[in-house]
Symmetry: C2
Subunit: 168 residues, 2 copies
DNA sequence: TGGGAATGTCAATGTGGCTGACATATGACG
DNA sequence: CGTCATATGTCAGCCACATTGACATTCCCA
C-alpha cells in the first residue's frame, strides 16, 4: 500500500509521541475490559469462567480440533486446559471423539448444549463488536484490524490467519 | 466525519458478517496477548504481576491520585488493590502521602524506584505499540482508536478521556 | 455529637494459571 | 517384536489475583 517516503518494509516511521502511545495503551486496556464484560456476565450465570469461553470458542471455530492444537492456540498448559475440558465434557457441552486415523488423538466437538452456550456468548460479543464497527465506520475497521495484527507476535499471527482444517 | 448515507447518529449500519465480526473478536484476543507479553516478562523478573503494573501505570499517569480514584479506574475491590499497594509501598516503589486538605485521603506517588520500573514497563509497551502503529500507518491508527473507544463501556470512556487533575 | 467517608486489614473462598511426576494407549521404526 | 516417542489424562502442590464479609481507625462535616 502507501509507501510514501523512502522506507523499505512498510515501516513509515510516524511521529509518535509518548502521549499518543500511552493513549493507545490505555485504549487497549479499557477496550479489552468492555470486550470481555458481556461474556463474563453470561458465563457467571452458567457457572463458568473465561477459560471455558476460550475453549468453547476455539472448538466452535475448528470442530474436530485436537487437544494439542487447542493447547497451542490457547497458550496454556495441558493441566490447565484439562480442568476446563473435563468440566465441559462432564456437563456435556463438549464431546471428545477418539481419532479414526490416529487413535491417540481426541477430536473435540460441541454438543447441542455446547453450541447453545457458544451461540449465546458469541452473539453477545458480536453485538458489541458490530456496534463498535458501525459507530467507527468501515475505514476504521480496516485500521483496527491492521494495528491489532501488527501488535501480535508472529506465531499468534499464524493462528489468527489460519481458518479451519480437518475433522474426523 | 463521513456521513454518507442517511444515518442519524454515526451508526452507518455496515454489512458485517458473523465471520468478519469473529475475526475482530479473535484479533482482540491475540493482540491483547501480544500487548501484555512484554511487560509480563519484565514483571516476572522483578517478582511482580500484572496487577502491580496496572497500579503503577495509573499512579504514573496521575501522580497524587487517591486510593478511591485508583480503585475506580482499575475496577477492582479495595481488598484486592490493598495487597498490591502494600507490596509496592513496602518495596518503596510507591509512596502514600496523607492528604493536606482531607487527611483521610492518601495520595499516591511513585518513588525513584517506582519511576524506574514504570519507565521500563511502559517503554517496552510503547515500543510494541510504536511498531504496530508504524507498520499499520497513520490512518489505521485513527481507526484503531475509534473502534476501541466505541468498544468501551460508557463509564470507562470517561476514564479514558480524562487526563490528569490534582495533586497535593 | 454523631453519621458517613476514606482507608486498612483479617479471613475465607474461587478461578485459573504454573511445575513436576506419573500412567495409559497408541503410533512409528529398526 | 521390542523400543521409543507421541497424545492424552490426572494427581498434588503452589501462586497470583480476584471476590465477599466483617471490622477498626481516622477524619470530615452537618
Amino acid at each position: 500500500m502507501a509507501e510514501s517516503k523512502g522506507t523499505q518494509s512498510g515501516e513509515s516511521l510516524l511521529f509518535l509521541t509518548d502521549e499518543q502511545l500511552r493513549k493507545g495503551i490505555e485504549a487497549m486496556f479499557f477496550a479489552y475490559r468492555g470486550f470481555t464484560s458481556d461474556p463474563d456476565k453470561i458465563l457467571e450465570a452458567h457457572g463458568y469462567g473465561r477459560a471455558h469461553h476460550r475453549a468453547v470458542h476455539f472448538i466452535a471455530r475448528a470442530p474436530g480440533t485436537t487437544v494439542n492444537a487447542l493447547l497451542e492456540v490457547l497458550g496454556v498448559t495441558k493441566q490447565s486446559l484439562n480442568r476446563v475440558l473435563r468440566a465441559l465434557i462432564a456437563h456435556e457441552l463438549v464431546e471428545s471423539r477418539v481419532g479414526k486415523q490416529d487413535k491417540r488423538e481426541r477430536h473435540l466437538h460441541l454438543t447441542q448444549k455446547g453450541l447453545a452456550l457458544e451461540a449465546e456468548l458469541s452473539q453477545a460479543q458480536r453485538t458489541r463488536m458490530r456496534r463498535a464497527f458501525s459507530q467507527a465506520g468501515p475505514d476504521a475497521v480496516v485500521g483496527f484490524k491492521q494495528v491489532l495484527e501488527a501488535m501480535m507476535d508472529e506465531d499468534q499471527k499464524a493462528y489468527f490467519n489460519a481458518l479451519k482444517e480437518s475433522d474426523q
